[in-house]
Subunit: 154 residues, 2 copies
């Protein structure tokens, strides 16, 4: 179910390594060696992350990458957005795709709401959290009006 791509997963590994490197710039080759991910792939990831503003880069010899901000201030949602683009949980909730069933559907908006909710949750998870293994499993639950409470109105 609900899947993020392998590249996003790798991206997290790469970012976690940069978090570990602190303020020093690390080259793509260094990161590749340290993480065991192929250099071309690491390179591609870092380029994308740089364009998204999550990492800073220096070109030329002795160049490299480092986190643009503290690991505690980079969110899981940003990482996903950077590497997967602004894809939505359902196709018909994406900007312009106009689903034929709209009139009949009545459902899309619910998935959209779930989508928004999940995004909010991911906004609360930092790269620092992701990089820290063995932390206790967080618990989501609904706040405010619980969506699972039946309303008697039609």
């Amino acid at each position: 179910m609900l899947r993020i791509s392998k590249l996003t997963d790798y991206g997290t590994v790469v970012l976690a390594h940069l978090a570990h490197s602190g303020a020093a710039y690390a080259s793509a080759s260094e990161v590749a060696a340290a993480t065991g991910i192929g250099l071309p792939t690491v390179s591609k990831l870092l380029k994308t992350l740089a364009r998204a503003g999550l990492v800073n880069s220096i070109r030329g010899a002795q160049g490299g990458y480092r986190l643009a901000r503290d690991a505690g201030r980079i969110t899981a949602a940003e990482v996903i957005d950077a590497l997967e683009g602004p894809v939505s949980i359902t196709e018909c909730s994406a900007s312009d795709s106009h689903c034929d069933l709209e009139a009949v559907c009545n459902v899309g908006s619910a998935w959209q709401r779930i989508n928004v909710a999940i995004r909010r949750a991911l906004d609360d998870i930092s790269l620092a959290d992701l990089a820290r293994a063995n932390a206790p499993t967080p618990r989501f639950h609904f706040a405010g009006t619980p969506v699972s409470v039946e309303r008697t109105e039609k």
Copy 2:
């Protein structure tokens, strides 16, 4: 980001229609006509949902489908599981796929935790909720130990 497949989305529409039909059995053709989704697709969806135990079916002439339980007792997580299979948020957190980076990674477990957390949330959303349009957007947040709180320990 975090996407469910179009088929799962359709599946929800189909289930929502069955929820509306109540205890009566509706044929795949009826559902297709009512939802505007192609008959072969509806048929495929209903077969899958029947195998997953979310709908009951009667074969033969005058046969059809209806929800196996009350719409309030079918969860979004079940629908996703039935239609997308037990896929996990990251590849390496799936049962047997053995990621080479495991030793280096340290990250997988975090996504896994997020995965579990999202699943829990989806367990709290019923088909009845999904079928009801225009409900207020639910709000997720972390309960217990907030994962975004930095710990000073290394």
